[in-house]
């Protein structure tokens, strides 16, 4: 072996069965190696194919299948495969496929036979499959926190199980039982290529079929879920997690263009990463009282810090924390309904502000409201909804979501009203806007239905999207309000610090950074009739109009991300130090890098505010009442 190949020998020598092999033997092994690269998704070994090589994974990941096509093992760096076929009759017994881009070292069969006969450790190792399985399980655990860097395809355990959507209920149930799956994909096979049409899960069968005592001949298309939420094969596990969190679905079909690659379930992600925010979420749904919820709410700051340390971006963190908050709220509502009985009329529980925007962090209060069905009769129904609102609000306070000081909570009768009253509120805010009143109702323009008949919330979003863009006066006043809070930049790009109070010599990253940004983005979004709530999503919609230049949009997106991530890191540091996280930053606690770039980001906010003032004619003193 050439001495220059020592890198290659050293790599192999870290892993069994090569770790205890004498150096001379290792030199011989390395001398016979052929290196080959496989792109993710490539079949490396087909069942029954002749094979005269032992494969060693230098980098990447490979899936080993049984003859039946069922996944047998998933192996990575330092693992070997192909040995069973070499031991039998040099034909492949376990097909192998590259899960990620993979570099393999192929060791020729002659070397394999020589090692098998001359090195007992090697012979033992390749004959024992259990050990390699245990080790791969361990290495999987070591890698378990890379939700940000692992693709969803890693979680696909088998080829997708599907049926035509013309099958009957009983047939669908039989297929699911035979195949041992908890979800069945239903395909429209009328066209040239089958198209994914719907899905049916174990839970659907229980709640929609069994409890309703549907006849077994019921067409499955009557009860399947349509309009599926799917994820693309190139997405990261993290994105799948956020999708599940946001949409409250437990199965996601993984799509490669129009083709279904497989289905991943919430439980797959929880198994993969027992520390993730999804684990916390699934745990939330297992709690049966406020005490239990309060107990696990103590894990929320840790989950937050972990995501920060894993380099998640602010969108991911904001969505995950909002998803957690939403789950606490939903579970409390379920518990409340159990305690108080089913609601007498339909209702929708609504999240407002940062939770609705998917921009929640750890320091947050509760902002919520209730939309009741128009059949609402206060004397008959309000006692129930007040009790439910109080139960949820008190429960959230127990779990660390403090009461809203502005009384924007469903416990306030003003924010617990039938849909027609809500429509009246929004119409009045938009069509007869008053600066003072708008300041307080700003928060209602970030809204999201999270429980019950969420269609009510959608009706309100539609109303806002339709009316807001037509009311110049409303946009002007909203823009003027958005200019109340300015970024903390003084002359010569110095930071302007608070002069007094308990936060002296600091500046507030929320009040003077992220809040003015989300305020001004909201104005533009409403002006172009967007129904999006998240600031990044809103920027996307704004980008489809010609309202802002491409460069300005990019700058806004980057400034929002940068200020948010500095704010997030500041809070994570406080949690790690055992301090109470807040938004007040002392300039000297920032790195020179952060300081300089924060100034740039604040400059972007300042320029964007100038444009807002000009665009919506929002100079203070003009058009004022």
């Amino acid at each position: 072996m050439q001495a220059e190949l020592i890198d290659i020998r050293n790599h192999m020598a870290q892993y069994p069965p090569f770790d205890e092999m004498p150096e001379e033997l290792m030199d011989q092994v390395v001398g016979g190696v052929e290196v080959e690269y496989f792109r993710a998704g490539t079949q490396i070994l087909e069942f029954g194919q002749d094979n005269t090589w032992l494969y060693y994974i230098r980098s990447g990941a490979v899936e080993i299948f049984r003859r039946s096509g069922e996944l047998y093992n998933r192996i990575g760096e330092g693992d070997i495969f192909g040995q069973f076929g070499l031991l039998m009759n040099k034909t492949v017994r376990f097909p192998a496929k590259a899960l990620e881009d993979t570099l393999v070292y192929r060791i020729p069969e002659a070397t394999f036979q020589y090692l098998f006969e001359n090195d007992d450790g090697f012979a033992d190792f390749v004959e024992t499959e259990d050990r390699s399985r245990l080790r791969s399980a361990l290495s999987r655990r070591e890698k378990s926190n890379d939700l940000m860097t692992s693709k969803v395809t890693r979680l696909i355990a088998r080829t997708p199980v599907s049926a035509p959507c013309t099958v009957r209920l009983q047939e669908a149930a039989r297929i699911m039982t035979d195949q041992g799956v908890s979800a069945l994909l239903l395909m429209d096979e009328s066209g040239e290529h089958p198209i994914l049409k719907g899905i049916i899960t174990d839970r659907d069968l229980r709640t929609r079929a069994v409890t309703e005592a549907l006849p077994s001949e019921t067409p499955i298309s009557d009860i399947m879920s349509e309009g599926l939420i799917t994820i693309r094969a190139s997405a990261y596990i993290f994105e799948a997690m956020l999708m599940m969190l946001h949409n409250n679905v437990h199965h996601l079909p993984v799509m490669d263009k129009d083709e279904v690659r497989g289905v991943i379930a919430l439980s797959d992600i929880v198994k993969y990463e027992s520390q993730s925010s999804l684990y916390l979420v699934s745990n939330i749904y297992h709690q049966n009282d406020v005490k239990g919820l309060k107990k696990i709410s103590r894990d929320v700051p840790d989950t937050f810090v972990r995501m920060v340390n894993e380099d998640a971006n602010s969108h991911m963190i904001g969505s995950a924390m909002a998803g957690i908050g939403r789950s606490f709220t939903q579970r409390l509502l379920e518990l409340g309904e159990e305690k108080l009985g089913p609601p007498p009329i339909p209702y929708c529980f609504m999240a407002l502000g940062s939770m609705a925007r998917d921009e929640q962090l750890v320091v947050t209060d509760q902002d919520n409201a209730m939309i009741l069905d128009d059949s609402f009769v206060p004397e008959e129904h309000d006692e129930y909804f007040l009790a439910l609102a109080k139960f949820v609000s008190d429960g959230l306070a127990e779990c660390g979501y403090t009461y809203c000081t502005g009384e924007i909570m469903a416990t306030n009768p003003k924010w617990r009203q039938p849909l027609r009253v809500w429509k009246g509120y929004f119409t009045d805010w938009i069509e007869n806007p008053k600066a003072e009143a708008l300041l307080n109702s700003n928060i209602f323009f970030d809204l999201d239905g999270i429980h019950g008949n969420t269609g009510f919330a959608e009706e309100l979003k539609a109303l806002v999207a339709e009316k807001a863009s037509h009311s110049q006066r409303f946009l002007t006043l909203l823009a003027r309000n958005a200019l109340n809070r300015t970024p903390p930049l003084g002359f010569f790009r110095t930071f302007v610090l608070e002069e007094d109070g308990q936060h002296r010599k600091t500046f507030n990253l929320k009040r003077r950074g992220t809040a003015p940004l989300s305020d001004l983005i909201r104005v533009h979004a409403l002006a172009c009739g967007s129904r999006a709530q998240n600031s990044f999503e809103r920027l996307k919609v704004i980008g489809q109009t010609k309202l802002l230049l491409e460069d300005d949009l990019g700058n806004l997106r980057d400034a929002l991300e940068f200020i948010s991530i500095v704010r997030i890191r500041h809070q994570a540091l406080a949690i790690e130090d055992g301090r109470k996280p807040d938004n007040n930053v002392r300039p000297e606690d920032l790195s020179p890098f952060e300081r300089s770039h924060l100034k740039d980001a604040f400059q972007v906010v300042s320029n964007a505010q100038k444009f807002l003032r000009f665009r919506y004619n929002a100079q203070v003193g003009r058009n004022a009442q």
Binding site: I6, G32, E100, L103, H597
Partner: protein, 242 residues
């Protein structure tokens, strides 16, 4: 990418196999004659069939007229496999004094050099690898010009051959390598087309050591990855060589 070498402008440019046949007639050195007579693969040959050799030189500097070759690393390969058993690494004695800085880069010391042969003494071995194969390099302005100059000095005539340049392929794939100021600010780095950085984009492992052989192997692996990701095994060699 151009499929023809630099050359005459008006008449259709001769293909590489045609040039090899021509050069075989003209070459005086038996080594070069044998090299050209071994031939050049058909320009339409699919990459999956082309015999390749990854080649890397460590040099005392970047200018072939002023600097010398210090070591040669190479490994024959095809798209289907890189044969580590057939790789070769050789330190050679540079004609010009070794600078302190290049010692730091290559880890080759004066005592290594003192024991090393002149390139002349290992040319037979070098050509035994090059004959019949298309060289693959990362950055075409080193290996081909340095070998050309070294042979002009030693054999009195230079050498011409096509190369596949994995760095040129990366440059072609990333025409907009420079991020805007704002992108830089958010930590977006320019796309580097250096060997180690290019390899990272394909999930190829990091090699701790640096020598001509490891870099040659690294280049061979990179080409396999590039072809599987962007071109496919049926791509004719003429689309990639320069």
């Amino acid at each position: 990418m151009p499929s023809n070498p630099e050359g005459q402008s008006n008449t259709p440019k001769p293909t590489w196999p045609e040039q090899y046949r021509e050069l075989a007639q003209q070459a005086k050195s038996p080594l070069l004659k044998a090299f050209y007579e071994a031939g050049c693969v058909d320009p339409d040959m699919p990459m999956s069939d082309v015999p390749l050799v990854a080649l890397d030189f460590e040099t005392t500097g970047l200018d072939p007229n002023e600097h010398s070759i210090v070591s040669v690393g190479l490994v024959p390969f095809t798209l289907g496999g890189i044969q580590l058993g057939r790789c070769w690494h050789q330190v050679v004695r540079p004609q010009l004094p070794l600078h302190q800085t290049s010692i730091e880069v290559h880890g080759i010391t004066h005592s290594d050099i003192d024991k090393a042969p002149d390139l002349n003494e290992v040319l037979d071995k070098l050509f035994s690898y090059l004959n019949g194969r298309i060289p693959v390099v990362h950055y075409r302005d080193i290996e081909r010009p340095f070998l050309n100059v070294a042979l002009q000095w030693r054999l009195g005539e230079g050498i011409r051959f096509p190369v596949i340049d994995t760095m040129a392929i990366e440059a072609h794939l990333h025409p907009d390598r420079r991020p805007t100021r704002w992108q830089r600010l958010l930590g977006k780095k320019p796309v580097s087309i250096r060997l180690a950085d290019s390899r990272q984009r394909y999930g190829l492992p990091h090699y701790a050591s640096h020598n001509a052989l490891i870099d040659a192997i690294g280049t061979a692996e990179l080409l396999q990855a590039q072809i599987h990701h962007h071109f496919g095994p049926n791509t004719p060699v003429k689309d990639l060589w320069l």
